[in-house]
Symmetry: C2
Subunit: 442 residues, 2 copies
């Protein structure tokens, strides 16, 4: 029997995931709005046979953000350009359902899917930052619960629009003059709490059946949405025991929704430092940690805790109790509070950890040691793959592709080459099902 | 003194502008959602040193549309991909202000501008089709007048967001750890009738100062919007006398708004048929005309007349009087009624004309004759350039670039090579002015 196969996504982020990466001597931070820079990274990831590239997104400016997020490309336009210079690698991006319209989103991802020959993926989020509301003529951010109700309806509309053209609707018979078959196009006529959308879409069926759906929230509402609708789940998991518990509970939920658990891939984020020795890997991390100013660290931690002002508290003391919940991202806040408690971290230790990892797991070692760890999580039921949050671009990607990938390949848990051309093929998700019955024209 | 220089845009449309182009033996209509097909066309246009490529857009499906519009790429994603395979040519697209948000639109065009190194242009429209409303949770289409009020406010917000980063806001000083200068970023705090937008944008200042603005409506409201805000005006003009009158009136309006008339380029659409002889050029047209089915012709005419049902009338009789105005595109309707009256066309002759030209001027001849005509309009004050609506792709582009462009170059009225790398440079519009005063952070 073939060994279980590892899936790898590259979370592509300007100068790198470490918050101080832009100060590293090898990094050229002015490249974060240079297309050629991203093109080289994408080609290297494709050389490493990764399943996909992934871009995060946000719709407001935050001076306390990771520097690579201050000024950045709109993700669909960047992925479209990357589609032109790559051939196989999947191209996925975050787009929020809270400040968008389903017709636009359905169309953009289907357009990317055609441009790339079936490589598009959409990470569905409901907007983390409350300030996005103010760029979209709203007085306040939609409440957490309502965001998820809207997201579920949004997804249904998008799925319906993606299914509005039957695959063989376009005939283009030059002889008879018939361009398309009218009865193979379908109006959606959706009329719901948030949206009314007639359809059909103005672009034909996706080359991969439909674009891949990713979900990243670990709140109850997020996991339910994912279990119903997602092909990939991103998650932050700090240790294998927790990861296994999360993995099992999500797969159970997927099954409870009548879906095949094999068809949902769980990919925890991981920040990887590769060295010739374990010590060298740790040194690379320490070098970056020294480049973090205390102000940056405190601000980042405040932001991850939903805007809670952390600077009045002793940096060498514990995290204060009863940090209030906000209307933002609940799961990241909860993970950090739990982490500080379990590992007995001071505020300084916690912000250093957060600044280095962005709330995800840190992994140090030689290529063999890194491969051991990834293989262990794969075999022990903690993950189907990983979303790689590498500290510095392009250097840590070069190291991962040149050193870790060959080890994974030798062990038979990772592809030697792509066997298909679509993201769905890379993930082994070949036959998407349209959940919504297709309606006829009235 | 250097001769007045001609500007050329290529209106890129699937299989070609002629409605029956897809049935032509040389055309491969299944290529309209193939990126490689568009990439070859874009490279050919760049070989011809054209100022820009231009894509139209729409947000609903219409079975009576030009076949190339039934299933098509979302334009910003296609242009982003084309940016990756071209180096100099401008990349412009239609985006409506009626069913979009200014933050998204400002960001998408600025992202395209960075991807392409300063080649982005935005054709501002207010949505022609009433049915778009139904894909965006609206009961009915916004009234014509309100669409233009919204468009003007939308443009002001976008302009403000594009100006929200001063050009030198990003410092990225590795030594001090200062990534950007806070006082060089500005909130917009726009609070208007349609939008309230805080800003700043989450992408830095445009490589070309700001993307180029195009306007295409010839209604009074459209021309006023253009005179205030546009760098390029597209227009449908059937003869030189009318074109000169339009040209003069627009340039006067531009001056009345306190702008330099030289900084607004007027580009009528023109459908060009090139042959070894005039007769061969006309034969190419006739060959395509014979491929139009009567039903397609009648339906197209109905659509251009705002949905007025034309099939009950005798096809060999005149256009009925008193065709009612609708809430759609007024200027195209008026042009067709005027044309039928002046040239005494029957319904059949009118729909054949429309089907062949899409309401724009038809031009037949040898390369020399085509060049004569374009030069005449340029020198006689009818145009600063043309938006080329070529009948079949890629063949009529190949003919234009290989045969007409060298003649224009020999006459000294068209560039031998690009002298700059941005769309603004090609157009001679080097210093964009931000109309809105930049506000400080509160």
């Amino acid at each position: 029997m073939e060994k279980k196969q590892l899936h790898l996504g590259l979370f592509l982020m300007g100068s790198g995931h470490h918050i101080a990466s832009w100060r590293h001597p090898d990094v050229e931070p002015e490249q974060v709005t240079s297309f050629r820079y991203f093109a080289e990274i994408a080609k290297k990831a494709e050389e490493g046979k990764l399943d996909m590239l992934f871009l995060s997104d946000g719709l407001s400016f935050h001076e306390l953000s990771h520097p690579a997020e201050l000024s950045r490309f709109e993700p669909i336009s960047l992925l479209s350009a990357l589609a032109a210079v790559t051939n196989k690698i999947g191209l996925a991006s975050t787009v929020t359902t809270t400040y968008n319209e389903p017709f636009h989103v359905a169309r953009k991802f289907l357009s990317l899917d055609h441009l790339s020959g079936g490589r598009a993926g959409w990470n569905v989020v409901t907007s983390y930052y409350e300030s996005e509301a103010k760029n979209f003529s709203k007085k306040e951010h939609l409440a957490h619960q309502d965001r998820y109700i809207r997201a579920q309806e949004f997804l249904e509309v998008v799925d319906g629009l993606w299914g509005s053209w039957e695959p063989d609707a376009l005939v283009r018979d030059k002889e008879s003059g018939v361009y398309f078959e009218k009865d193979k196009l379908h109006q959606l006529n959706h009329d719901g709490a948030f949206f009314s959308v007639e359809g059909p879409l103005n672009i034909e069926r996706s080359p991969q059946g439909k674009p891949v759906i990713i979900q990243a929230g670990s709140s109850n509402a997020g996991v339910n949405l994912a279990a119903r609708s997602a092909d990939i789940i991103f998650t932050a998991q700090d240790n294998l025991a927790d990861a296994r518990a999360f993995y099992r509970s999500v797969k159970d939920k997927v099954q409870a929704y009548g879906r095949n658990p094999e068809h949902v891939k769980i990919m925890p984020g991981v920040s990887v430092y590769v060295g010739k020795t374990y010590e060298e890997a740790v040194q690379k991390y320490e070098q970056l940690q020294q480049l973090i100013t205390p102000e940056v660290g405190q601000n980042l931690l405040s932001e991850y805790l939903g805007g809670f002002a952390i600077s009045p508290y002793d940096v060498d003391g514990p995290l204060p109790e009863n940090i209030p919940e906000t209307n933002g991202n609940k799961s990241r806040r909860a993970l950090l509070i739990k982490l500080a408690e379990e590992k007995q971290l001071t505020i300084r230790e916690l912000y250093q950890y957060v600044a280095g990892s962005r709330g995800h797991r840190l992994l140090f070692g030689t290529a063999e040691q890194i491969a051991d760890d990834l293989e262990n999580w794969l075999m022990e039921g903690g993950a189907d793959g990983f979303n790689l949050m590498l500290p510095t671009f392009p250097s840590s990607l070069d190291e991962f592709v040149d050193q870790v990938v060959p080890v994974l390949q030798q062990r038979g848990i990772y592809r030697e080459d792509y066997s298909g051309s679509t993201l769905r093929a890379h993930l082994g998700l070949l036959e998407p099902v349209y959940k919504r019955p297709i309606l006829n024209n009235p």
